[in-house]
């Protein structure tokens, strides 16, 4: 017979299997951190936030509810589209057009008795730190790097050694096709999403001159229709990438362009894929990654087993294309991380560059990826994207060269802000080449 007592939770018959694990120690449980008598009760009192109610989000809600969490919030601004139904299993044909967070929350609440799920049909940026302070764990199932970076920066910023409960473990999942990753971030303690940014290098953009004059691939023709032809002809006031009529217009334009250059391979599906930057997604992969995330959430909440982030590994990579391969490793914290690091990150720049060139370079550098940067140096504002009056005032600086005309020197620190990342200021140190 197994030794170690099971401490029955509030509904012992229902949580029979879970209680065996969460209320008694196993061979790998760290005894100093674990108290089987109180672990279930403590977990049930926790508030967990799920960000995203899509492919991963649906799975996350189900998994958390069946892991014994009782108070869950979910944020998603999107509505349900027909193309979600192949994996977002809480939604039906009749739900198309409704808010994802609302439908998902209601479904799981109804199916799993005793769990409370609060939906928020809005953007994460609509909430301030007070809102995020109420949760003990945040789990992300997002498809956008920007939203991830925003919540990461916010949670890192919230850490205050004098405020109890200001550390919010962030568990992040992501998938693409048969591949994905699950990682745990203990803000300021382990490597944060920003430290790991270079693992998600932006796709190289096709040069404009290729689109404009020497297309070779079907994608070039589609991008031409999207970037050049649409702006020139404005067939509809605003491009809506979810409107089949708009995609059809782009498709036809791309097709004609391709014909002109003898390029083959344009399809409606490819057009839609390129314009919307569609990432293939299936239920099976979401199932793997979301469950890996929630497995960590259960371990963090109850200390019933060691979790990612403590003591060593914090990142699991999963690939199912060729057999199954996981790589679970420790991603090191970076001292010069612009969000959680103590020193400024080195930034290679040519002193002869204009400020405009520096501003543009932020978007494509794998270590920065800032699309609308505002730049300050030692109390001096070099360029501000907003408000309009400041933008106008600082705009002339864009023409000036960094060293000679703006007086910046090698090794100088600059602060960069971007509207996508709230109040966080990224620290960089100029390194002249």
């Amino acid at each position: 017979m197994p030794s170690g007592q099971v401490y029955p939770s509030s509904e012992p018959a229902r949580w029979k299997y879970l209680d065996r694990i969460r209320t008694r120690a196993g061979p790998f449980t760290v005894p100093e951190l674990f108290n089987g008598e109180t672990s279930a009760e403590a977990q049930e009192k926790m508030k967990v936030l799920v960000i995203g109610a899509g492919g991963l989000g649906c799975e996350l809600l189900k998994n958390l509810a069946l892991s014994g969490f009782k108070d869950i919030h979910v944020i998603d601004m999107d509505t349900i589209d027909i193309s979600n139904l192949n994996r977002q299993f809480l939604f039906r044909q009749s739900d198309v057009g409704k808010f994802k967070a609302e439908v998902a929350a209601a479904f799981v609440e109804k199916r799993v008795k005793g769990v409370k799920i609060t939906p928020h049909n809005c953007k994460i940026q609509d909430f301030d730190e007070d809102f995020y302070m109420q949760f003990q764990i945040v789990v992300c199932g997002l498809d956008s790097i920007e939203a991830r970076r925003w919540i990461n920066a916010t949670l890192v910023n919230m850490v205050d050694d004098t405020v109890e409960d200001s550390y919010k473990p962030l568990i992040d999942g992501g998938t693409e096709g048969f591949k994905g990753q699950a990682r745990v971030i203990l803000p300021t303690i382990t490597s944060c999403l920003e430290c790991q940014l270079d693992m998600h290098a932006p796709r190289a953009a096709v040069p404009l001159c290729t689109l404009a004059s020497i297309p070779r691939q079907p994608e070039h023709c589609i991008e031409w229709a999207h970037v050049i032809a649409w702006d020139k002809e404005k067939p509809f006031p605003q491009l809506d990438k979810d409107d089949p009529e708009h995609i059809t217009w782009l498709y036809q334009k791309a097709l004609l362009r391709a014909r002109e250059f003898n390029i083959s391979g344009i399809t409606y599906s490819l057009t839609q894929g390129v314009v919307k930057n569609i990432i293939p997604a299936i239920a099976a992969t979401n199932s793997v990654i979301a469950a890996a995330c929630c497995n960590e959430a259960l371990k963090i909440a109850t200390s019933c087993a060691p979790y990612l982030g403590y003591p060593d590994n914090n990142y699991m990579m999963y690939s199912g294309n060729d057999s199954i391969y996981t790589y679970t490793f420790r991603h090191e914290k970076k001292d010069d991380c612009p969000v959680c690091g103590v020193s400024a990150r080195e930034l290679q720049v040519d002193p002869k560059w204009t400020l405009q060139e520096l501003v543009d370079s932020f978007a494509t550098r794998p270590e920065a990826q800032l699309k609308k940067p505002s730049i300050r140096a030692e109390g001096k504002t070099l360029y501000m994207q907003s408000p309009p009056s400041l933008e106008e005032q600082t705009r002339p600086n864009l023409e000036k060269t960094l060293a000679e005309e703006l007086g910046l020197v090698d090794g100088q620190e600059i602060g960069v802000t971007d509207p996508a990342f709230a109040t966080v200021s990224f620290k960089f140190k100029l390194k002249f080449t």
């Binding site: 196993g26 790998f28 096709g177 293939p280 793997v288 497995n295 699991m316 391969y325």
Partner: protein, 534 residues
């Protein structure tokens, strides 16, 4: 100019159907052919124990639209099921678990059909297997009775049906795929970057002529033309020069190649407006990757050497084509050309011409192979598209599960254990992760339906499987963790394992991507997997 063309010939519209829209995100992975295979699949789940991992697997197969499934499960729904299984609710209590699960799973996709067993007409697993239409894949979950396993195994043998055994308990799980024979995959979806095959060391006359024509007056080309020479042409041009200066041989050592790369890079014009040439940068960057004497990939070598003597293999299109490709390789000392040209800086017209030269050669190679196939008995009915796909993927075609029946499963486990434990001895030095075989052993000792065994009993069974392994510290730890769960699942580990099994099942049904060979063990304490051949 474009506008004029537009008014003359409005293109035909191919807007996606309702179904294509619903399945859009997965069609981008396995295309219409994979979808059709899924839709004709009929999958049986024999469910038992705490009953979640198989259902999570089915969820991930019902959503993408398999044709049909059946659940065989003798249990009645209890309170504990509601704490672990999402596809049961308060109304299910006391009812047949198979029936409740089937009902809830069917809500996920109206295009899928499903049946629950046992029912009034079909009361046992045996009668289900006798009376049902043939199953495409069978999954069963542990714990299960040895009688049921042998029923399923003999069914699998008789109908050539893949079997998947799944076992999930606490933080641990494993699953094992039992394929009926050697399993070839043509459409393996290799990484795009791996597939470039330009044959720059063995160019054929049309390619040589094309490159010569573009570079015959290379120094007098305008900056625009010079800056838009495709890198393939640039490399061919400087290779010719190199050969002329080196007694007809290519740069072959690393030193020679870096020297060649320097020559290419330094031939770029730098006094132009851009201060350099992107196409020469591309050419220099491609030197080490493309100037490689091709060798036969190990996967294909295995296929060429495999003796396909089973009657089913004799009839299969795959082996007919593989034999023809082998004959082609022996004759020409190279594989059929895939024919794909990566994007590179070039004028549109020149790039398309280059593309057409590669395509034409690929078509010629494929035609030669098709001819060989058709000249073989049974080869007349082979679809030319199948030959074409094989030629395109030849370097990446893969054969798994080639084990021959000379060694028993019990011996194979012992051999694997010896190897794994030996590796663990050196793990600190080799920086390899520790083996997950101890988890498999501890779980395998509790794989059958019975009263829960004592720790001593579990260790005794482990020792019976692999003598001496009960002394291993990590086996003992794994046993403790297994004892903690007492066979009960954790929802997360069941869901994670269900995701992996669904991926593998999709790969087997669609014959796309590469399935595991043959056992996957998951450790939810350290969040990692290991694939073992057991």
């Amino acid at each position: 100019m474009t506008e004029i063309v537009m008014s003359q010939t409005p293109p035909i519209l191919h807007r996606p159907s309702e179904k294509e829209r619903k399945y859009d995100r997965q069609l981008r992975l396995w295309a219409a052919s994979g979808q059709a295979a899924l839709e004709s699949a009929n999958i049986l789940l024999v469910n038992s124990g705490s009953g979640t991992v198989g259902v999570e697997t089915l969820k991930n197969l019902v959503l993408p639209g398999i044709g049909r499934f059946a659940i065989y499960d003798e249990a009645k729904v209890e309170e504990a099921d509601l704490g672990i299984n999402f596809f049961l609710d308060e109304d299910s209590l006391g009812r047949s678990r198979a029936e409740s699960l089937t009902g809830h799973l069917l809500e996920l996709n109206p295009e899928v059909q499903g049946d629950a067993y046992p029912n009034e007409n079909v009361k046992t697993l045996k009668s289900l297997l006798t009376h049902s239409p043939v199953f495409t894949t069978i999954m069963y979950t542990h714990p299960i009775t040895p009688e049921n396993i042998s029923l399923l195994e003999s069914y699998g043998q008789q109908h050539q049906t893949p079997l998947v055994a799944i076992h999930s308990a606490g933080f641990y799980s494993y699953f094992r795929i039992h394929l009926p024979g050697a399993f070839p995959i043509v459409d393996t979806h290799p990484d795009e970057t791996a597939t470039t095959d330009l044959r720059l060391l063995t160019p054929w006359p049309e390619l040589v002529a094309f490159a010569e024509e573009l570079t015959k007056d290379i120094d007098n080309l305008s900056d625009f033309e010079h800056g838009h020479l495709p890198y393939v042409v640039i490399l061919l041009h400087y290779l010719e020069k190199w050969k002329a200066e080196h007694g007809g041989s290519h740069p072959s050592t690393y030193k020679e190649k870096t020297e060649f790369r320097r020559i290419v890079q330094s031939s770029a014009r730098t006094k132009n407006a851009e201060g350099g040439e992107e196409n020469f940068d591309e050419a220099a960057a491609a030197v080490l990757k493309t100037l490689v004497v091709p060798s036969l990939p190990s996967g294909l070598k295995g296929i060429f050497e495999y003796e396909h003597t089973h009657p089913a293999e004799q009839r299969s299109g795959f082996w007919l084509i593989a034999d023809a490709v082998k004959a082609f390789y022996e004759k020409h000392k190279c594989l059929p050309l895939p024919g794909k040209v990566p994007d590179m800086k070039a004028q549109s017209k020149v790039y398309i011409q280059l593309q057409n030269i590669y395509k034409a050669r690929a078509r010629k190679d494929a035609a030669e192979i098709l001819e060989t196939v058709q000249a073989t008995p049974g080869g007349q009915n082979i679809d030319p598209a199948e030959v074409e796909l094989f030629c395109k993927n030849a370097a990446f075609v893969k054969l798994i599960n080639t084990t021959t029946g000379t060694i028993s499963r019990a011996d194979r486990l012992r051999e694997a254990a010896a190897q794994e434990f030996a590796n663990d001895e050196n793990a600190e030095m080799t920086l390899q992760p520790l083996s997950l075989l101890p988890i498999y052993l501890a779980m395998q000792a509790t794989a059958h339906v019975e009263d829960w065994p004592s720790r001593e009993e579990i260790l005794a069974r482990v020792a019976k499987m692999v003598p001496g392994s009960d002394e291993n510290e990590r086996v003992r730890q794994a046993m403790e963790e297994v004892a903690r769960a007492e066979g009960g699942e954790l929802h997360n580990v069941a869901a994670l394992t269900g995701g992996m099994v669904a991926q593998e099942t999709i790969k087997i049904i669609t014959k796309q991507y590469i399935p595991i060979d043959n056992t996957c063990v998951f450790d939810g304490i350290n969040s990692r997997c290991q694939i073992l051949r057991l």
